[in-house]
């Protein structure tokens, strides 16, 4: 299935008849002008294994609900679940693979809000919906735009697990500031 990201640069790699096909196009750089408000695209699926949940938790968030099945079943999460920071980091990777590494990204000043709505379980297949909430030219750096994205991660059942709202600084097309 060709990812619906709304522009021809989406053909860098896509899932086709259960195998990954690489289409070699000239490397394209997305700029501020490519991010009008509205749905930008849907990315994934990304399979999340039990092993990677345990590995991330052991290094960064070694709470029993992320490491131990028996302790997790008695916790508020009612079963082993990934660290919320792991889920955010996976969403970052899905955005990076989906478009950010092909975007004139200058980094991000922060995250307005993250809502952890439901647990990420071992074996879940994540999809990520990305919407542009706002796109404006930076007042202090007119050669740069600020694009505020909302990412929604869902499991295979369509249940929303996490919503993240974050601005990213994106370069404008050459000459756009003049």
């Amino acid at each position: 299935m060709i990812p619906d990201i709304g522009n021809s640069a989406s053909l860098d790699g896509y899932e086709c008849w259960n195998r990954t096909v690489s289409v070699h196009l000239p490397k394209m750089t997305l700029t501020f002008e490519d991010f009008p408000p509205g749905r930008f695209g849907t990315f994934g699926p990304r399979h999340v294994s039990r092993e990677e949940i345990l590995e991330f938790a052991a290094e960064f968030d070694p709470q029993p609900m992320h490491l131990d099945e028996a302790a997790a079943s008695k916790s508020m999460l009612k079963g082993l679940a990934a660290s919320g920071w792991h889920l955010c980091s996976i969403m970052m990777r899905m955005m990076a693979d989906g478009f950010i590494t092909r975007t004139a990204s200058l980094g991000s000043p922060g995250v307005n809000e993250v809502r952890w709505l439901a647990p990420l379980r071992p074996g879940d297949d994540l999809t990520l919906e990305v919407d542009v909430l706002e796109a404006r030219v930076s007042r202090s750096r007119p050669e740069t735009g600020i694009v505020t994205f909302k990412g929604t991660a869902r499991n295979a059942a369509g249940e929303a697990l996490c919503e993240m709202t974050s601005p990213i600084m994106v370069g404008r097309r050459a000459g756009a500031a003049s």
């Binding site: 991330f56 290094e59 960064f60 968030d61 070694p62 709470q63 029993p64 609900m65 916790s75 508020m76 999460l77 679940a81 660290s83 919320g84 920071w85 955010c88 980091s89 996976i90 970052m92 990777r93 990076a96 693979d97 950010i100 590494t101 990204s105 200058l106 980094g107 991000s108 000043p109 922060g110 995250v111 307005n112 809000e113 993250v114 809502r115 952890w116 647990p119 600084m169």
Partner: protein, 158 residues
């Protein structure tokens, strides 16, 4: 970990510090945030960051690591005093996370947690909702990172 009743607004704890090596930065970025300024010194120097910079999610994850370690330290101290240890619940999310300055290879970041507000949960009897400000400061005393965290904390005797 402490119970809801034992925590006061304004309580402040130093969580400890962490030095971000170039190898750490590249390992995290390779897994989760493969943008060139997080993977390559030269690309970092040419970026707005001015050097190989840690992914913001790496900085946040290290803050979580130190928060958990501090909680475990408090739990051990409570056990040593013969007290009951509180098991905290999950977090519904966070707000206002700010990557104020880049964290570059070799930087040592010290993290601090301060309790901002507390209230009882309406949806979960026996639980309180705690809001804390977590922040990170580099070896030059410059604030580099902060966010407002929320967590469910159990009440005593619940």
């Amino acid at each position: 970990m402490r119970f809801f009743e034992d925590i006061q607004v304004g309580d402040r704890r130093a969580l400890g510090s962490f030095t971000f090596t170039a190898a750490d930065i590249k390992k995290f970025a390779g897994k989760f945030d493969p943008q060139r300024f997080h993977l390559d010194e030269e690309a970092g120097r040419k970026s707005l960051f001015g050097g190989l910079a840690a992914s913001g999610w790496h900085v946040a994850s290290v803050c979580m690591k130190l928060l958990v370690a501090d909680g475990q330290r408090q739990a051990r101290e409570a056990l040593a005093r013969g007290e009951q240890v509180a098991v905290w619940g999950a977090s519904p999310g966070f707000r206002e996370l700010r990557w104020i300055r880049p964290v570059l290879a070799g930087d040592t970041i010290s993290f601090v947690n301060e309790v901002v507000s507390k209230r009882s949960s309406e949806s979960r009897p026996g639980w309180g909702i705690l809001q804390g400000s977590n922040s990170g400061t580099n070896q030059r005393g410059e604030e580099v990172f902060s966010f407002l965290a929320t967590a469910f904390v159990p009440m005593r005797g619940s």
